[in-house]
Amino acid sequence: MTRYIEGFRKMDAASHFRTTLAEQGRQLAEQGRSIHLMEVCGSHTMAIARFGIRDFLPAAISLVSGPGCPVCVTDPGYIDAAITLAGQGKIIATFGDMLRVPGSRTSLAEARAAGGRVEVCYSPLTAIELARNHPETEVVFLAVGFETTIAPVVAMLDAVIRQAIDNVSLLTAFKRVPPALSALIADPEIQIDGLLCPAHVSAIIGADAYRPYAEQYGVACVVAGFEPLDILYGLQGLTQQLLENRPHVDNQYGRVVKAEGNRQAQRLMEHYLLPADASWRGLGTIPASGLVLRPEFARFDAVHRHGILPTPGRINPRCQCGEVLKGKIRPAQCPLFGVACHPDKPLGPCMVSSEGSCAADFKYARGGA
């Protein structure tokens, strides 16, 4: 198995890409061009930082981080709602990244310190375990994430229903990647020439989902895996498409991603969920960019079940997360970066999640910033 991990982390092949990317950079410079590529997904952001991939890019190719970190785009009002539920004695089951995201006033970590029951899960299945072990208590699972995470959460809900467990509900803030990308690409203020399309999200939604960006907007698209050689090859492929003025969707991650995606997961998601408008921290409301439970499953919706009314909440007005998420500025250009806002005391969500652009830049590239 090691072969399928380490085979994609080899130095010599990476050095080859260093050479070809440098050559592409020269060609771009000759044409007087510089290009902006966006890595859509937080896991790409992490891998790029962790393996030092920026190092391989010539000046003419710049790489900006996209909106693909689920906790980064979650509204503070959502955190507030979770804290309210914790205050009512419910068990909050959550992925670890959400713990330190600032709500309007406090975070879930602070709610836990104040006595709230907040349990960190690696898998949504933990919610089922918690529900079984505490039959007298309501368990609320914080259902955030993109398509990759939505599928497992819905599978968990499916198991809850099949096993007739009646004390689990979801506080949903599911987000879909394509509508957010459409909004970004349609924004004239934002220059995106190419998209490094997510690996795992694409496994669910399929590579065809990106065709409109190439066909209608002339944006180069490469679906790439999360291993460093995949990323380097993807960046080279994007640049080549742009050099040749031939933008299209190139699925370089064919070992996992099909054109149509994972039908089984899609069917399950359609069975339980409906598209709805969703609010993205920093980006505002984007039509049909969320997924909510269908009305017939309302009793598993924490909002209905516990009668709460989430509000948008209050963002620290000085935080530039919106600009960072849109790729308009690099984190280091935020005046608070590393000064008032620090991984130990994050002001904005981008500094919280290990995949948030600000945290990733702070952690791995601080010296260069």
Partner: protein
């Protein structure tokens, strides 16, 4: 409830006496503890001693590869060892939660006893308190340790020079990974195994090379990244390490892949990081590799002129800054 710790076990009466006699004196009563004096009287051979203390609050109490008992011995023994001392004596402070199964307590104390024997240290004084249910998490341990300085060691970062080598004695991150997987109930087979073990023999094996050893640390909380950053903070030099030279165990690697952990941030409890002159690096590695706790020893990097910076050369030949972790170790999503 006879097989549980009761509040009365800490009350100073008959129950207390029984607990101390049966569980403590029975295990540690060969030396000064035999007659339970108020203080241990110790004979020193050396004029320079090292003295340290540490508290242990690990959850769960038992994890793959160890438990809180051996951890409490190794933690303190290792703090003495990396200071260039030969560990001699330990104190053992126990805080027990009412309701703790006596069987658990016995397993933990057995581990303390075994670990102390292996480390050639004597538990010479101690204390036991019982708190109400809910006031502690099963069992906490504090150990203090006294060691005698080994002549020749003059450990100081001020002696570090360009080109000096950084060595590690074994795989990184095993302890933190084992505790995390046990705490989260990942049900892994051949998953991470704690490396809770003493490093005093590793230190003693290189005592004759002490003059060229600049610094030693065990990368516990915060992992290797934290130790390397401590070594370079405010200094005129930096450190550069290479990813391909870092040793990791397969089970720990599997957990890191599964959760997206950066193993440079994960604790070890039986690993030694050593900074030395290049001239003795090979000799130190050879000595270590001859010991079971040092078979995976490696040279992982060098001292550079990039003041205060810790740089990692990644597997693919890129570079990045190695920063200290923030907050608790959590599984992440997406």
């Amino acid at each position: 409830m006879n097989d549980c710790v009761l509040l009365g076990h800490g009350g100073g009466g008959r129950l207390s006496h029984q607990l101390i006699e049966q569980e403590i004196v029975a295990r540690f009563g060969q030396g000064p503890l035999q007659t339970l004096p108020d203080a241990a009287t110790l004979e020193l051979d050396s004029r320079r001693i090292c003295f340290t203390t540490d508290s242990f609050v690990v959850h769960p109490l038992e994890f793959p590869g160890g438990n809180i008992g051996d951890l409490a011995v190794h933690g303190t023994v290792n703090d003495l060892a990396v200071s260039g001392a030969r560990p001699r004596w330990l104190s053992l402070g126990l805080i027990l939660e009412e309701g703790l199964p006596l069987a658990t307590l016995r397993r933990v104390l057995d581990s303390v006893q075994r670990a102390a024997e292996q480390c050639e240290v004597a538990v010479v004084t101690g204390d036991t308190k019982v708190v109400r249910r809910g006031q502690c998490d099963g069992l906490y341990i504090n150990t203090s340790g006294i060691g005698e300085a080994i002549p020749g060691f003059a450990l100081s970062l001020s002696r570090v020079g360009l080109g000096d080598c950084i060595l590690v004695s074994g795989p990184l991150g095993d302890h933190g990974a084992a505790v995390l997987s046990a705490r989260e109930g990942f049900q892994m087979q051949n998953g991470p195994l704690s490396d809770s073990r003493p490093v005093h023999r590793l230190v003693q094996s290189v005592a004759d090379l002490a003059a060229d050893i600049r610094f030693m640390r065990d990368p516990t909380r915060g992992g290797l990244a934290t130790v390397l950053n401590e070594m370079t903070a405010g200094q005129s030099y930096g450190i550069r390490i290479r990813a391909r030279d870092l040793p990791f165990s397969p089970g720990t690697n599997a957990l890191a892949e599964m959760l997206g952990l950066d193993l440079l941030h994960v604790a070890s409890e039986g690993c030694l990081v050593l900074l030395c002159a290049e001239s003795v690096a090979a000799a130190i590695l050879a000595r270590w590799q001859a010991l079971p706790e040092g078979v995976d020893a490696r040279a992982i990097g060098r001292v550079t002129d990039q003041a205060g910076r810790v740089i990692l050369e990644t597997a693919i030949g890129g570079q990045r800054v190695v920063d200290v972790p923030s907050g608790e170790l959590l599984p992440r999503i997406c």
